[in-house]
Amino acid sequence: MGSAISYCSPHHALTAAVCGDDIKLPEYTNLPCPVMYEEITREAYMSLKPEHFEGLRFDISRAVNNKFAMSNRVFMGLIDLPGNSGSVQKQSTGHFDVGANLVDQKGKMDVVLVMRRILSEGRLSAKVKYDVNNRFSIKADAQLTNEPHFTLGMFNFDYKGYDYQARLTMGNNAYYGINYMQSVTPKLSLGGEGIWLGHQRKSSMGLAARYKADTVICTGHVKSEGQINFTYVQRLSDKLSVASDFVYNWNSREANTSMAFDYLIRQCRLRGRVNTNYCTTAYLEEKLTSGLTFLLSAELDHIRKNYKFGFGMTIGD
């Protein structure tokens, strides 16, 4: 088409680099590459849903060299058990993880990316991402457990065009999915997905829209299982951003809205959220010194009178 082809680097699984960020204004109708279908709500959910926990969490990550890193995690805390008469009961649990990450980059492409966690309960999860060339990449995801019929495996084939992204997914239990995202204007992108679950002979469809301006990102998502989902993120300044989320299920007729803020101060990052289910949460990460981060997590569900508090420490980056 034209010469000013915008090149989008493939998604790094760990960072939220949106492809299409670093392009010059197109001279004619060349549109930027959109975000992948699964990632349209990523910025919103980074602020809305941090990893809350209850109990103690202790993470150590060590980079052995610039390609390989090892990580350990100890978690001791409470998990919710479905209780009788609606009251939530908790039980103490503890587990220990070991993980290894290998990242090999050539220019802007990830040649190979491996992440693996072995839980002390006997579960293994592995992810491999391989960029065959600039446009085509393959991802594999496996979760193996001791219990029969709980093992999952999935393959994803991603193709990135000039202004579209497509993905084909194949998983065990005869799971097939296909999704497609197209940039319609420089700010708006639309997409759709279809999922087929072989064993249960169920299929579902979804439609999505994403509007991105300089400081605002809005997304809308409709799924045939009966869910409508809107998110809105606005960056008020370098340090502060607010996000909001609306979920409506037309089968169960339940609607839920949450509002969150994400405040980045020099040493700490604070994320707070309020819900229409009278659920308030907060998550604080404070950098005590370089490489040492202190975490505090709180989740108060006033309707079910369920209160979860956790603190933890992260060593390493």
Partner: protein
């Protein structure tokens, strides 16, 4: 007897001011006043049993003037559900406590000391302590709850002699007790107690001994219910203290030993303890700024796989 009678200030409920510590060395055979019977273990249990909690605790203490102070305390967390062995189950709970303290001192005597607490669950506790003269003081203690037959009221009459202390207690549901401690040598004091439970027609006796030098305090306590309890603390330096505790019940023939350390610096105080029941506990109080203290509490019971973690903030002194 002689002229160098050592004056002992009455025990303030909140501090560990040992009576007799500022008495000058007697010229004649007058011995310093011993510690009260219920306080012989006090120093050891300050290090061995900090106020561990699970969940979030937020305390605000405001002194209106030198004599009166108000306290607000919020607690949200999990409590163990009773009769759920071997896997302990927990349930979330929350309560709010309002308290008021009034202290009126003349010299070293507490003319009156009143403490009241009201909980959002509907319990109230009140304590009044009044020093009639240098030697005689009266204490009253009441805990009122909504549930019938669970309210408790108690009166204590304390008499302090030159080298002995005696206490008579009368409580509701026909509870009577007498205890007595006598200083035998400048370092050793012995004591005994006798309790009578009127409604259950039970009586029990106890004997106690306490040996105190500059850096070591050893106590031993024998109760007729079948408990032998020995404690030992040693002050290694101004900042570090180690304590140990041994409890043996000859009815159930169970013995538990715990070892604890207490490290006190300007900015923080950390207490750690390990048990022969494979139970480890730690309690950290860190002064973040003037009047603001962060509290972290952890208790890991490896045998029952029960892990309790809590964090909190204290505002005010």
């Amino acid at each position: 007897m002689g002229s160098a009678v050592s004056y002992c200030s009455p025990q303030q409920i909140q501090t560990v001011d040992l009576c007799g510590s500022e008495g000058k060395a007697p010229e004649s055979t007058n011995l310093p006043c011993p510690v009260k019977y219920e306080e012989i273990n006090h120093e050891a249990y300050m290090s061995l049993k900090p106020g561990l909690f699970e969940g979030l605790r937020f305390d605000v203490y405001r002194s209106m003037n030198r004599k009166f102070g108000l306290s607000n305390s919020l607690f949200m967390g999990s409590v163990d559900l009773p009769d759920c062995a071997p896997d302990p189950l927990k349930q979330s709970t929350a309560h709010f406590e309002l308290g008021a303290n009034l202290i009126d001192q003349k010299g070293k005597m507490d003319v009156v000391l009143m403490m009241g607490r009201v909980l959002s669950k509907g319990c109230m506790s009140a304590r009044v302590k009044c020093d009639i003269t240098n030697r005689f003081s009266i204490k009253a203690n009441a805990e009122l709850t909504n549930e019938p037959h669970f309210s408790v009221g108690m009166f204590n009459f304390d008499y302090k002699g030159n080298d002995y202390q005696a206490q008579l207690t009368m409580g509701n549901s026909a509870f009577y007790s007498v205890n007595y401690t006598q200083r035998v040598t400048p370092k050793l004091s012995l004591g005994g107690e006798w309790m009578w439970f009127g409604h259950q027609r039970k009586s029990c006796m106890g004997l106690a001994a306490r040996y105190q030098t500059d850096s070591v305090i050893t106590t031993a306590l024998v109760k007729s219910e079948g408990d032998i309890c020995c404690t030992y603390i040693q002050k290694l330096s101004d900042k570090v203290l180690v304590a140990s505790d041994f409890v043996y019940n000859w009815n159930s023939t169970e013995a538990v030993t715990s070892i604890a350390y207490d490290h006190l610096l300007n900015q923080y105080r950390i207490r750690g303890r390990i048990d022969t029941n494979l139970c480890t506990a730690a309690y950290l109080e860190e002064k973040i700024s003037a009047g603001l203290t962060l509290v972290l509490s952890a208790e890991l019971d490896h045998r029952k796989k029960d892990y309790k973690f809590g964090f909190g903030l204290t505002v005010g002194d």
